[in-house]
């Protein structure tokens, strides 16, 4: 019914695709044995290390995620850096 959805402008993802996405995330965490608490802890430590070398403008914007790849799972950190020129 994909084309019908488009025809009627249905934008929301289906509940089954939401379920699939949530499952993939939860399974990566299950398989790596990394609890949300440990994940937060690790994120804090990563930030602390990065900050020793570069200026991190907004620690809130840092995203550390576990994602599922083809053959392996990936730990990804996305760290926005400040862009102010050297003074």
């Amino acid at each position: 019914m994909g084309f019908l959805d488009n025809l009627f402008g249905r934008k929301q993802p289906t509940s089954s695709s939401v379920a699939k996405e949530r499952l993939l995330t939860v399974l990566v965490h299950d398989r790596v044995h990394l609890s949300p608490h440990d994940m937060d802890e690790m994120k804090r430590e990563i930030i602390a290390v990065i900050e020793r070398y570069v200026e991190v403008t907004n620690p809130e914007a840092i995203e550390v995620t576990l994602t599922r790849g083809e053959a392996t799972d990936h730990l990804k950190a996305d760290i926005p850096l400040g862009r102010s020129r050297q003074q």
Binding site: M1, Q12, S16, K20, L23, L27, D30
Partner: protein, 266 residues
């Protein structure tokens, strides 16, 4: 020499016992010599699903503890008196009464007399599960297309590997074609992709399962049951036949599609 096939799932209530009863019966219909073992000690149920609950004298624990010979505990299914038997679980005893080694020894004894030994595993990942998979040559993992069931199935896949059992096969049970069509239930390819194991069967959600269980019959004996047809197909695949998967699309008119689409729009 029999093949030992364990039916397991992780999550409870996804249809392990129904699957075991149907596959056992279907294999017997094709002339195979089959024994179904209920390994869910303390929560016996395979007997009622097969309609044999009134004929139990001895059980699995009696056999393991030597109170009877194995033969005496096997209940004959009257529909297939020569080739379908049930070894019931104990109902009230200590669930630690049986060990994985007991199960292996029992199956080795039964292998000589049967073509298929099907073991109905308890839910969970505790001792009962370990007992059920210890003697297995093949493992069938049953799930439904729901998040919690798939997550638990994933745990089981990991444990099966940890116990050095290879190549478990997946059965996706209770698929509601109408919900899949409108995007409200994960589809077969989604579940297969997530669990990354081979698919051996898809079974539609089918009210006839409840009716046949009520009567102590099994769906594979009912020619009109879609679920029964699906289980017959799985049994045939176990026998090495190449059977295409059922097409579960429910025939829906355009009007029904539109109605169901508008209903689910948020």
């Amino acid at each position: 020499m029999a093949q030992v096939i364990t039916i397991t799932s992780g999550k409870g209530g996804v249809g392990k016992t129904t699957t075991t009863a149907n596959l056992a019966t279907s294999l017997a219909m094709q002339g195979q010599r089959v024994v179904a073992i209920d390994a869910d000690i303390g929560l016996r149920n395979l007997d009622v699903v097969m309609g044999l609950e009134n004929r139990i004298v001895y059980d699995l624990v009696d056999v393991v503890e030597g109170r009877c010979r194995t033969r005496q505990a096997l209940i004959k299914d009257k529909r297939f008196p020569d080739n379908l038997f049930l070894l019931p679980a104990a109902q009230t005893r200590d669930k630690d009464a049986v060990t994985p080694d007991d199960m292996i020894a029992l199956c080795n004894e039964l292998r000589r007399e049967f073509d298929f030994i099907l073991i109905d595993s308890p839910a969970g990942i505790e001792g009962g599960f370990k007992n059920a998979i210890a003697p297995a040559d093949h493992i069938l993992i049953v799930t439904t297309p729901e998040m919690s069931a798939v997550r638990d199935a994933d745990r089981i896949v990991g444990l099966v590997e940890a116990y050095e059992k290879s190549n478990p096969k997946l059965i996706i049970n209770r698929i509601k074609a109408r919900m899949v069509a409108r995007g409200d239930m994960m589809d077969t390819p989604d579940v297969v992709e997530i669990l990354a194991i081979d698919l051996i069967g898809i079974v539609p959600d089918d009210e006839s399962i409840v009716v046949s269980t009520n009567r102590g019959e099994v769906a594979v004996l009912d020619r009109d049951s879609m679920a029964g047809k699906a289980y017959n197909n799985i049994a045939n695949r176990l026998l090495g036949h190449d059977i295409p998967f059922l097409v579960l699309d429910e025939k829906q008119g355009l009007w029904a599609q539109l109605v169901s689409m508008f209903r689910t729009r948020r």
